[in-house]
Amino acid sequence: MRNISTFSKGGVHPADRKELTCTKEIVRLPTPKHIIIPFSQHLGVPANPIVKKGDIVAAGDKIGEAAGFISADIHTPAAGTVSEIKEIFLPNGMYTKAAVIAVDETGSLELTEKRDWKTMDPHQIVAEVKDLGIVGMGGATFPANVKFSVPKGKKAEYVVINGVECEPYLTSDHRIMLEKGLEVLEGALIIAKMVGAPKVYIGIENNKKDAMEHLESLITAHHLPIEIQPLRLKYPQGDEKQLLKAVIGKEVPSGALPIDIGAVVSNVGTAQALYQAIVYRKPLIERVVTVTGDAIRDPGNFLVTIGTPIQDLIDACGGFREQPEKMVAGGPMMGFAFYDLQTPVMKGTSGVLALTSKESRKEVTTACISCGRCVAACPMGLQPTRLYKNISVGNYTESLGLGLLDCKECGCCAYVCPAKLPLVQGMRLGKNMSRKMKK
């Protein structure tokens, strides 16, 4: 195990509240009668539906085809009939097409015999990753095959597996490392094989010592060429740029990708899904979701079929203890508030939070007092206050010049702002409007 480290610039320390679920074992939830599969579960262009109303689908069938370079295939997790193709809202507020599938028990997903990935060709693995619809499961849902195809002229030296889970409340990655540790480690090695990187690190924050020890013992027992990098607690360490700074000590330049400094970053959830995809030819049809928050009666971690309405997850936790003030998909820092419990679980839904009024205090926004706390907290070295002032008067071009596109909406600025300005929402508005202006 290496010496403990962290990234240098900015960052905050929110209360992590992981004690609610970090000891709860992952429970498999049965697939409900109706599942809703959105065609946009990834970053980039939504997939094109290739089924229509009335079609009969088998478990694992492809129902949506990638519609561009940055796009991903969509599979149905269960057999049944497509009862409707309709437009729905996703937790992030997007409006997109989705297939509603009436599930029947005619057959479960057929997996192949356990295959030996070590004998497979790297190009073949990348092709299968695309074919099986694997995307990054940390939340950004970047299509994995794009990330793992190293562009010509570039060379991958490091694979950094992200076991940081710096978002408060969430424990899905923590539980995956504890319960599926070997699959995560083998998944990491599959990634290393795909990109041809000699070094593999797993970055884990200090509040998950049990996971660190567990993985360390697995690494020693199986003689795996993987090193564990313990990290000091600091948000947003799980962002790839901060993680790389903390683990390999290099900074990703503005506008560049990790591969430009010879690194490939992947979440532990992705590594585990990738292991199952390559070894058993299993498409990405389920994921681990943490359901937590003080409004939940019995919080826990669940292995959920993608497309399951969030209502079913709440029911599995015994319902609400009290009426939640706010529902959030994802973590409290970067997640999205949503209002409809019929919203389905997607490839990127790492958690569902039901927050009480005490947990999500309603704050009154006052004027900016130019204290500069947001500037100190910004891990990207931006000046959120200046960006926000420009955006709120419609100076989008000016804000682009101030590095708006480097903002990744981690929420550190809004977290520390004493005036409670909706800074992140402002950044998002600025990005949307400047995109609109370009058109």
Partner: protein
């Protein structure tokens, strides 16, 4: 002593003289020919710098007209009068001079009393920011969000939010620059002729039942206006009535009275 003063005096005079000659020469040799028409056209334009023509401001538009890059009828605030003046300066005949003056209007009569809320929105008081989250907090996803992004962009302060929560455009102040139409995320702000008597106070393309669920003053696409008053210029498309302002309509009063949800409203 005297000599020192003399030296200084001479040095400065020679230097001044030489620079003066240099400047005089440069002003003749390097003179930029300025078309007087640019100034004249700029003078004729309203000077609101609203940007409706698509140029950075009146000066930029004037230059584009003189360079014959732009059509001279693009100035919406100026209307036909300005177009005629500009044409006179440019020495051509005015074209498109009889276009009707258009004004902006919110095609929605919903407010907190009539329309349901899907969720409690807290955050940036900006329509586009709210629209990025589930198309806004209204139950109806086509209606006015009333957070006032149009008020912020209006160059002449023609738009106000009334006490009942509705956004109102003063048609006598509006200079038809369309900035509010561009900024509005739902598309509920539309242009209608200045002298229009009625407008459709709804923008919802949902089916009648869906509209009823979320709004008591939304167009349900019943087609009474279209079928019972065929000469009044109403057509229902996508469950939403539209007025054809290009025809001389008759019987609009009757249609307005017959509308079961009162969404054919008098312009005020």
């Amino acid at each position: 002593m005297i000599l020192n003063i003399l030296y200084a005096f001479l040095t400065v005079s020679i230097l001044g003289g030489a620079l003066g000659i240099g400047l005089a020469y440069a002003s003749k040799k390097l003179a930029v020919k300025k078309d007087e028409r640019v100034e004249a056209v700029e003078e004729a334009l309203p000077g609101a710098n609203c940007g409706a023509c698509g140029y950075a401001g009146c000066a930029a538009y004037a230059e584009a007209i003189v360079n014959e890059e732009a059509d001279m009828t693009l100035c919406a605030p100026g209307g036909p009068d300005t177009a005629a003046k500009v044409a006179a300066i440019m020495g051509v005949e005015a074209q498109g001079g009889n276009a009707k003056k258009m004004v902006a209007r919110v095609h929605c009569y919903g407010n907190e009393e009539t329309t349901t809320k899907a969720f409690a929105y807290e955050g940036l008081q900006d329509c586009n920011a709210a629209y990025a989250m589930f198309k806004g907090d209204n139950g109806c996803k086509y209606g006015c969000l009333a957070l006032g992004s149009c008020i912020a962009v209006c160059p002449v302060n023609a738009i106000t939010k009334r006490e009942d929560g509705r956004i109102y455009v003063d048609k006598d102040v509006c200079i038809s620059c369309r900035k509010c139409v561009t900024v509005c995320p739902t598309g509920v702000m539309k242009m209608i002729p200045y002298d229009a008597e009625y407008y459709i106070a709804c923008n919802s393309k949902d089916k009648g039942g869906a509209v009823k669920k979320v709004c008591s003053v939304g167009c349900i696409g019943c087609k009474i206006c279209e079928k019972k008053f065929p000469d009044a210029g109403f057509t229902v498309k996508d469950f939403l009535s539209e007025i054809d302002y290009t025809i001389a309509a008759q019987g609009q009063d009757g249609a307005a009275a017959a509308c079961p949800v009162d969404c054919i409203r008098v312009t005020d």
